[in-house]
């Protein structure tokens, strides 16, 4: 039987506010345990929550960027359950009336087509603290620094049909929240994580199969692997005559498998009710328009503009606009060079990205600034160096040896365009390789490459490649 996979994602994006969603404590990551938790975060008797307006603004920004409805009135509710890292015994979250609803997001598939994914809702809530099971000799420690950190939970429609689509959607949301500057997107620190709802059904069937929810996946790669594992697991069970149980599962990256955390029957009754300590959030049209005015150029719009303005392929434009920082870097290179947008794109997507990946760095950390790169590309454009020599120059710049001109000067990499010098070198190589000259003249055209290589080698790679080619052909022809 042919099976169809159905996936919906719930993404938790930590909002980049300075203080917590209901208290004035700082949200910075990595502080000593419990040094960033005030009386409100600790759920002391008598304390009350006060909503952080910045978190509301950020949620509205996300809503506008996904063509969602930003609610005029949304309500915070209490989700009641007991856990040591949940100080009040309830989490303040939005339940029946979330701030953002009915949005859409387009993702690019591998075959170059676009697919529209529905954003069911996005709601504001507070994060819990962390239980620390190590270092306490059989006891559990609780760190409440994270308690009260604002989260935007972004819930998609079950519109994705493969792990690859799910990853594309997650990447798109990741890019978007960073464009909007509402989330730092740091997945190692847990600022961006997701739960995946996965089910399978016979191809053509309308009803959804029973789903399993895989909790807390914190990398794109794990999302893909966890979903693929889960899909295979479910198909195998059904094909062997079994039934899928609705349950929560955990992905174990070490073993590359998912395993059951709790079944639906064991799930809590959260006893949601509107939090009487907080008033409904009421947003007027003026506020919405103010937020709209702060929206940056969004990834899709930027991509289109790159295609039109710089003549890039859709693929190149997509790669360059995947993050706002990369797009900004590319644009400042092009602006500085003043021409050759495709050449600039190749360098940014090629050597720059390659070096960054190798050293696991972000574009903001690149030792070769946009200005340095532009300076080097200008030397390619004005024929001071060849593209090949430029690779050496780039590496030297990466290693901090100065700008392109300094490196070219110091290492004597200036391109040789003196026809006489190139002819002398060609004559020398032809004299040393009479058999090859004969072969070429007898019709073995591909020997031209051999001569180019030999002459280049003799000249330390500095011969102008176009000139060399032209002269070689002429001289070999006799």
């Amino acid at each position: 039987m042919e099976w169809e996979t159905v996936i919906g994602l719930e993404i938790h994006a930590q909002l980049a506010t300075k203080s917590k969603i209901f208290s004035a404590a700082a949200t910075a990551y990595g502080a000593e345990p419990n040094t960033q938790a005030c009386a409100v975060d600790l759920g002391m008797p008598g304390v009350l929550p006060v909503l952080n307006k910045e978190a509301v603004r950020m949620a509205a920004k996300f809503g506008l960027a996904t063509s969602s409805t930003v609610a005029e009135r949304s309500v915070f509710a209490r989700k009641n359950y007991f856990y040591p890292d949940l100080p009040k015994g309830y989490q303040i979250s939005q339940y029946e009336l979330p701030i953002v609803q009915h949005g859409i997001l387009d993702i690019e598939l591998e075959d170059g087509t676009t697919k529209r994914i529905g954003v069911t809702r996005a709601h504001l809530e507070e994060d819990a603290g962390k239980s620390l099971h190590e270092d306490f000799h059989g006891q559990t420690g609780v760190d409440l620094n994270r308690a009260g950190t604002p989260l935007l939970e972004i819930v998609s429609e079950p519109d994705m049909r493969s792990a690859k689509e799910a990853v594309a959607y997650m990447k798109k949301i990741h890019s978007l929240v960073r464009y909007l500057e509402i989330c730092d997107g740091n997945m190692q620190e847990g600022s961006f994580r997701c739960d995946a709802n996965v089910s399978v059904r016979p191809k053509g069937q309308k009803e959804f199969g029973t789903r399993a929810e895989i909790k807390n996946i914190n990398s794109f790669r794990y999302v893909e692997k966890a979903i693929n594992y889960e899909v295979e697991r479910q198909i195998e069970i059904i094909e062997n005559g079994g039934k899928i149980v609705q349950e929560t599962r955990l992905y174990d990256a070490n073993k590359d498998e998912t395993r059951s955390m709790r079944a639906k029957e064991e799930a809590n009754d959260y006893r949601y009710f509107p939090d009487p300590d907080l008033l409904p959030v009421e947003l007027d049209a003026e506020f919405i328009e103010q937020v709209r005015a702060t929206l940056p150029e969004l990834p899709d719009a930027k991509k289109l503009r790159f295609v039109e303005q710089y003549g890039l392929s859709a693929y190149d434009a997509a790669v360059l606009t995947a993050s706002r920082e990369l797009a900004d870097y590319y644009e400042s290179v092009v602006t500085s060079v003043g021409s050759e947008p495709k050449l600039c794109a190749n360098w940014v997507m090629g050597d720059v990205s390659g070096f960054l990946n190798k050293e696991n760095k972000e574009i903001g950390e690149s030792p070769v600034s946009a200005e340095l790169l532009a300076g080097m590309i200008k030397r390619i454009v004005d024929n001071t160096i060849s593209g090949k020599i430029a690779k050496d120059v780039f590496e030297a710049m990466w290693n901090g040896e100065g700008d392109a001109d300094a490196v070219i000067d110091k290492k004597g990499l200036k391109q040789i365009t003196d026809t006489g010098a190139i002819e002398t070198a060609i004559n020398d190589i032809m004299a040393k390789n009479p058999k090859q000259v004969e072969g070429y003249r007898a019709g073995q055209d591909k020997l031209l490459g051999f001569f180019v290589g030999q002459v280049m080698k003799a000249m330390g790679g500095k011969a102008n490649p176009a000139q060399l080619n032209e002269l070689l052909k002429k001289m070999l022809a006799g």
Partner: protein, 484 residues
């Protein structure tokens, strides 16, 4: 000194007839002498009180003036007080030293008031008799065999016995007004949102309000003026200037339309209490007030509605008492579940557990719509009753409690009868309106309270009516025997 009103005490301090330290020592002496009979204080803070008194004396010597500067008061043990045990009448918080001040605590501190100690109360303010306290029942100074009312029973008994000239209280379903009535005091629960709830340990968040308990309406005006005001730390507090409550006290009552809800004078009301209330109405008529019969048709729904909303909110509010970060923790828990079950099982008393269970049930999946949601809808009906009434009248008047104070133990094992003793006070909390109780006479040798209900933010008018009544009556000046 202990029979003087706040205004008289402030004048005495200003004229240096006595110092704040002398005044404070006087009340601390009375607490030491009489409180063993009453059990109205859970904690006395003599050292801190004397330090505050000396600081107030220094300020007075420096020419500072203020209506509460150097004046002692008793603080209900529901308000967090920095560095002082704040027990909320519960074993759960018997070891809890608050690390911060409630906004009400800070405001009274800033006004220069001197805190004598923390008063006894029903556990987590759940009760109408002060019998649910972990620290034992409070006795009514008017008769040591009867209850002082609750939940602010300690505050009521302390002020009635002249162990403090004024006290703070909180009122979720009548917890200021009913003990004020049962102990012959003046007590006001302001409009919901008028006084900050920050640092006031929550029972039912949408109903809780703090207010003063004093002997006179003028004293209540002074105290409320210091306690009220917008607080950015309480999202439900209302950003609106505080009226000058004393300024309106002298207004004439001529032409004042006083609504008498027929539902407040029917079945269940002790006829002797009804007669006292009728006499008070006649007095008000002499002052120019015009009684108007009105109806609040949904009155009968108030108690059942309250006993869904309040337990539902309390079941969630009290989840934080889990033995993890503060408060009572059971000995040697086996595991996490054991820690929760035993800490909560051993730390809470039976009435608190009863309400947590009722509230948990009311919020459960499948019952939420039938109970909590329905109760919230009925709340609107009750508020609408009042809205329509206030289109015709300026204030509403009736008994505070259907009976006088009852015997300790009499209703303790019959929660439904106990809940019905709040039948006249509860609707006011559900609607968020201001309500007040003032001494109106005696029945069966025990005090009877007259309840005044005002429109939203009409505290000044309630205080005005109460003050004018107190100009032509002396019930509020009566003091119980045995505390001279």
């Amino acid at each position: 000194m202990h029979n003087k009103t706040l205004a008289e005490l402030a004048a005495g301090l200003k004229a240096k007839t006595f110092s704040s330290e002398e005044l404070t020592r006087h009340f601390l002496g009375r607490i030491e002498r009489f409180d063993p009979k009453l059990n109205s204080f859970v904690t006395t803070t003599a050292e801190g009180a004397l330090a505050q008194a000396r600081a107030a004396d220094a300020s007075i010597a420096g020419g500072e003036v203020g209506p509460l500067l150097g004046i002692p008061y008793a603080h209900k043990d529901i308000f967090c007080t920095d560095g002082v045990r704040t027990s909320c009448g519960s074993k759960m918080l018997d070891n809890f030293i608050a690390p911060y001040n409630a906004t009400v605590t800070s405001k009274l501190l800033a006004a220069g008031a001197v805190m004598l100690g923390k008063t006894n109360m029903d556990e987590f303010a759940m009760g109408s008799s002060n019998e649910t306290s972990f620290y034992g029942p409070v006795k009514n100074p008017w008769n040591l065999d009867v209850v002082p009312g609750g939940s602010s029973g300690g505050s009521a008994a302390a002020v009635a016995a002249r162990l403090a000239p004024a006290a703070t209280g909180t009122d979720t379903g009548g917890s200021i007004r009913q003990p004020a009535a049962l102990c012959n005091l003046t007590g006001i629960k302001p409009t919901y949102g008028r006084v900050s709830r920050y640092g006031m340990i929550a029972f039912a968040s949408s109903l809780d309000q703090a207010g003063p308990m004093t002997r006179t309406a003028e004293d209540a005006a002074i105290m409320l003026g210091a306690m009220a005001g917008f607080d950015a730390r309480d999202s439900t507090s209302i950003d609106r200037p505080v009226d000058d409550y004393r300024a309106a006290l002298g207004n004439s009552l001529k032409g004042l339309k006083v609504g008498l809800p027929k539902e407040y004078f029917g079945e269940g009301l002790d006829p002797a209490v009804g007669a006292v209330v009728q006499t008070a109405i006649d007095e008000l008529k002499k002052l120019g007030a015009e009684p108007v019969e009105i109806t609040l048709p949904n009155t009968g729904l108030a108690v059942p509605t309250y006993y869904v909303v309040a337990p539902a909110e309390c079941s969630s509010n009290l989840s934080r008492f889990d033995g993890v970060r503060f408060g009572y923790r059971c000995e040697n828990p086996k595991d996490l579940e054991d820690l929760y079950k035993r800490s909560r099982g051993e730390g809470f008393g039976p009435e608190v557990k009863r309400r947590i269970m009722i509230g948990t049930y009311a919020l459960s999946a499948g019952y939420y719509d039938a109970y909590y949601l329905k109760a919230q809808q009925v709340r609107h009906l009750i508020a609408d009753d009042f809205k329509q009434a206030f289109e015709k009248v300026d204030v509403i008047l009736g008994p505070t409690s259907p009976t006088v104070a009852f015997k300790i133990g009499e209703k303790f094992n019959d929660p439904v009868t106990m809940y019905l003793s709040d039948i006249y006070t509860i609707a006011v909390n559900l609607a968020g309106l201001p309500g007040m109780s003032i001494p109106a006479g005696f029945a069966h040798d025990l005090p009877v309270g007259l309840q005044l209900i005002g429109n939203y933010f009409d505290e000044a008018r309630l205080l005005n009516v109460a003050h004018q009544y107190q100009q032509v009556s002396d019930w509020h000046q009566r003091s119980p025997a045995g505390f001279e």
